[in-house]
């Protein structure tokens, strides 16, 4: 077994190989975290916490499930999970694309800041909490308190929403939204019709949106 730090150090090297395979990951944490190169990494099995965290430019594919904090704070590139992901998938991500073919559990896309997240299954409670920018697409259902205290992120859900969080409302699905969603589904290699989705976003009623509070500074 290659020690985890050796693997990650090699991935962080000045001129890393183009294609990598990680065999027998056995749920190890921080697999392929912190890559800053346009390389491809295939993980053949289940990954632990923080897989592909802080990713830049790379494509990381997990042929299995992923633990807590998948692609946390991703900056760019692409992270694709064949199975399901645990809590806080794509949390705080600034850019790039995270695709989860199965379900994502609670807090998917929490505090997302520009990342696009496509979940083919369902997401758990508190997903897109305080989401600032980017798009969360859910083909299945969303759990309680979706989009609580959301800022400017856009949420697209095809299935049922158990409940919307504070200041999150359903919004009209216009042509421009269908067009951007179709493009995103295409990029994620997901076969679905953009017109089957509903859109949710911020009602912009919380404190920070209120002009009366501008005088506090």
């Amino acid at each position: 077994m290659t020690p985890l730090r050796e693997l990650n150090a090699a991935l962080h090297g000045p001129e890393p190989e183009q294609h990598w395979c990680v065999l027998n990951p056995r749920g190890a944490h921080a697999l392929a975290a912190g890559i800053d190169a346009a390389i491809e990494v295939e993980i053949d099995g289940h990954a632990g916490y923080y897989c592909a965290g802080m990713n830049k430019l790379a494509t990381v594919r997990v042929h299995g499930n992923a633990g807590v904090g998948l692609a946390e704070n991703i900056m760019s590139g692409r992270v694709v999970v064949d199975g399901s992901a645990s809590q806080s998938a794509g949390a705080t991500g600034h850019g790039g694309l995270v695709v989860i073919r199965g379900d994502a559990s609670a807090r998917a896309g929490i505090s997302m800041k520009g990342v696009d997240i496509v979940v083919q299954g369902s997401v758990g409670h508190m997903s897109a909490f305080m989401a600032q920018k980017g798009r969360l697409v859910v083909l299945g259902d969303a759990g309680e308190a979706l989009g609580d205290s959301i800022y400017e992120a856009r949420l697209y859900v095809r299935g049922q929403v158990a409940g919307l969080g504070a200041d999150c409302v359903e919004k009209e699905m216009r042509d421009e939204h269908r067009a951007e969603l179709a493009e995103l589904l295409d990029e994620a290699e997901v076969d679905a019709d953009a017109s089957d989705f509903r859109r949710y976003g911020s009602a912009r009623k919380l404190y920070n949106f209120h002009v009366d509070n501008a005088g506090a500074y």
């Binding site: 056995r26 749920g27 190890a28 944490h29 099995g45 289940h46 632990g48 916490y49 499930n65 633990g67 807590v68 199975g83 399901s84 645990s86 809590q87 559990s105 609670a106 758990g124 409670h125 508190m126």
Partner: protein
């Protein structure tokens, strides 16, 4: 942070190596809980009319033979099976009677568990040392729970370690922390539940004991936790027939479950399940918050 693990065997092969498998799981969870470790293992049920007690003595020179003699003279008792600081004795009386007698006549000993099949072993110190000292590798059994502890709410001692016995053949392991344990402990004491430490998880164990005594099923008792306990938790509860898992309603603490034809397992992290035979092909999922999952075998 703590690590918890549960393993329920569905095959003779897994039962034959249950302790070894559980030890391998606990080793993976050492980072989550480096300061103490413990297991509850269900095996070799005592014959009907007899019961089994797990005893802990802080005295390394403990004379277990003397204890056995007294038990044998009073009720009839088998040879003590010693493991590090613990000994398991089969006593020819009800578990309640044996437990009460031991508390009265040997207050220096601690009854870790009592029942037909349950045995509890736990100790302060690293999980690796624990696994070795208690020779987990050689233990067979039908199902088992384990815990690695990183203490947050009370002291690092063997008494404060998990699993906590919650009644005959019942035990609890907990990852998390409870906020209203002082209030609950006062209330439960008035209801006649005894506590031996100031540990928050022991209160959860006492809560379950109380609900079960009042006639609730295990599932009802666990559902009561959702109402009455304030805090973070993933619980695994062992019974004579199997085990149950419950996460708090907002899923503050992690849990993964997996099942094959040969076993059902739960653990705080997947890497503890990855060490089990055939894990890569197991059905693997994250239990939903606020939902009771349970596995049981039909009583023999």
């Amino acid at each position: 942070m703590c690590g918890i693990a549960g393993l329920f065997s569905k095959s003779l092969d897994v039962s034959g190596h249950l302790g070894g498998h559980l030890g391998a799981m606990l080793l993976q969870l050492s980072d989550r809980g480096p300061d103490s470790a413990g297991v509850a293992i269900y095996r070799h049920p005592a014959p009907s009319g007899s019961s089994k007690v797990s005893l802990f003595s802080p005295n390394p020179e403990q004379d277990w033979e003397a204890v056995r003699h007294e038990l044998a003279d009073t009720f009839g008792a088998g040879d003590p099976e010693r493991r590090a600081s613990h000994a398991v004795i089969v006593v020819e009386t009800d578990a309640d009677v044996a437990q009460a007698w031991l508390r009265e006549h040997h207050p220096e000993l601690r009854v870790m568990s009592a029942g037909q099949a349950i045995e509890i072993y736990k100790e302060a110190g690293s999980p690796r040392d624990f696994i070795e000292a208690f020779a987990l590798d050689e233990m067979q059994g039908s199902h088992a729970l384990g815990h690695t502890r990183m203490a947050t709410e009370s002291a690092v001692t063997t008494e404060h370690s998990h699993p906590f016995s919650t009644g005959l053949d019942l035990c609890l392991v907990h990852n998390g922390s409870l906020s209203n344990h002082n209030d609950l402990r006062r209330w439960l004491r008035r209801e006649g539940i005894q506590f031996e430490t100031d540990n928050d998880s022991e209160v959860a164990a006492g809560y379950l004991t109380h609900r079960l005594r009042e006639g609730a099923t295990l599932e009802q008792a666990l559902e009561g936790c959702l109402e009455d306990l304030d805090g973070f938790y993933t619980f695994a509860v062992g019974t004579a027939e199997g085990f149950a898992v419950l996460r708090d309603p907002i899923a503050c603490k992690p849990a993964v479950m997996a099942e094959t034809d040969d076993w059902v397992a739960m653990a705080s992290e997947y890497r503890a399940i990855a060490v089990l035979p055939g894990a890569e092909d197991a059905t693997t999922w994250e239990p939903e918050p606020g939902r009771v999952y349970s596995w049981e075998r039909a009583p023999v």
